[in-house]
Amino acid sequence: MGALVIRKLLLWMPFLFGIGFIAPLTAQTMDYWNISAPFGLSSLVFGLILGGAWGLYANIKGRWV
């Protein structure tokens, strides 16, 4: 059971990576360089949209680019 849960998590790892890594990295990079997000979004929300979408793309297509 435990192994199955881990396997499922790993299967969704690109998406989780988008949310867990790319999103906060994007937000902190924007804050560091004083770049504001479009449409009045906060940098974290923008990071979540970018990271989530990119991770989902990687999950579906099997590659990041």
Binding site: A3, I6, R7, L9, L10, M13, P14, L16, F17, G20, F21, A23, P24, L25, A27, Q28, T29, Y32, A58, N59, K61, G62, R63, W64
Partner: protein, 337 residues
Amino acid sequence: MDRPIDDLTREETHDDLPLGGEAGLIEGGVESGAADRSAFEWRKAPELDRHVRIRLRKDEREIAARWMADPKQMRIYTVVTLGCFAFWVALFPLCMMDIVPLWFGFAFSTFIAAVGYVPSHEAMHHNIGRLGTKYHFWNEAVGQVATLILIFPFSMARLMHMHHHYHCNHPENDPDYTDGADNWWKAWIKTWLNRQPGADGSIHHYKRCLERIGTPEAHIALRDTMLLQLGSMFFMFALCWSGYAFEAAFLFWLPRHLGLSYIRYWLSWAPHHPRDGLDRYTNTRVFRTWVGHWMSLGMQYHIVHHLYPGIPNHATKYAYYEMKPILEARGVDCTPL
């Protein structure tokens, strides 16, 4: 001695040498016909008279015996590896508190990610401490920590590396066969492509190999890999969401990718290109590179390692020059060095 002095190839296990030691770790049996099914002609070492072969092998073994790993001399590997690992772990709080600049942490982490495979590799072959000796604990300790930055558990690394030795260049059974590429720049690109989520290369290919092997050791390696991958990812996620995304990126994520590409290129593609030989004298090539001995991690002399894995990496150069006349007699192209 706890294992045969030299590496065993498929042909020899059917010939005059027993299967044992390290080879016992590996999936047994030989699948016939890889060479027969291949679309191209496999390079073969020249046929020699049996008496000549025996004499050459005897001379070869005498030279190899002089360069085998001495556990006392190998202690430096243990000290440096454990020291570097401890410093890498310490870099996280040191960089978070701005005691050490992040650029330095990034440079150091990238260095140990690229070079850390070398001591791990020695540990895979028990060169730091043989089984049953007091040094064996340190051998395993070095193996366990050296490639953590690569998210590459020792159990998987050892099993896959033994498999690579036993099935070197075999299209289906050599776990590193997917590193093959036509030229150097394609090889660099492939190191990255092979790590894509849907690719069948790198660690994805290793997982498939382990599932196919199906031994208890393979199941342990698969379990370790899953746990390490998951643990590492959540460690990075926790750092990022705590406001330390730069530290996660420059001390772990980016060094790992740079290190993996460097290792894949220099330790897999460069010494085995073009992967057109299956026997012990043709499965590895001797080559010269402008980056030199240290930057190529001593891989120019990788043939010595495949012949005698008990010779540590730093000694393969010296063993090679002593063995050179024998290797030439065996048909190895030694002209580059």
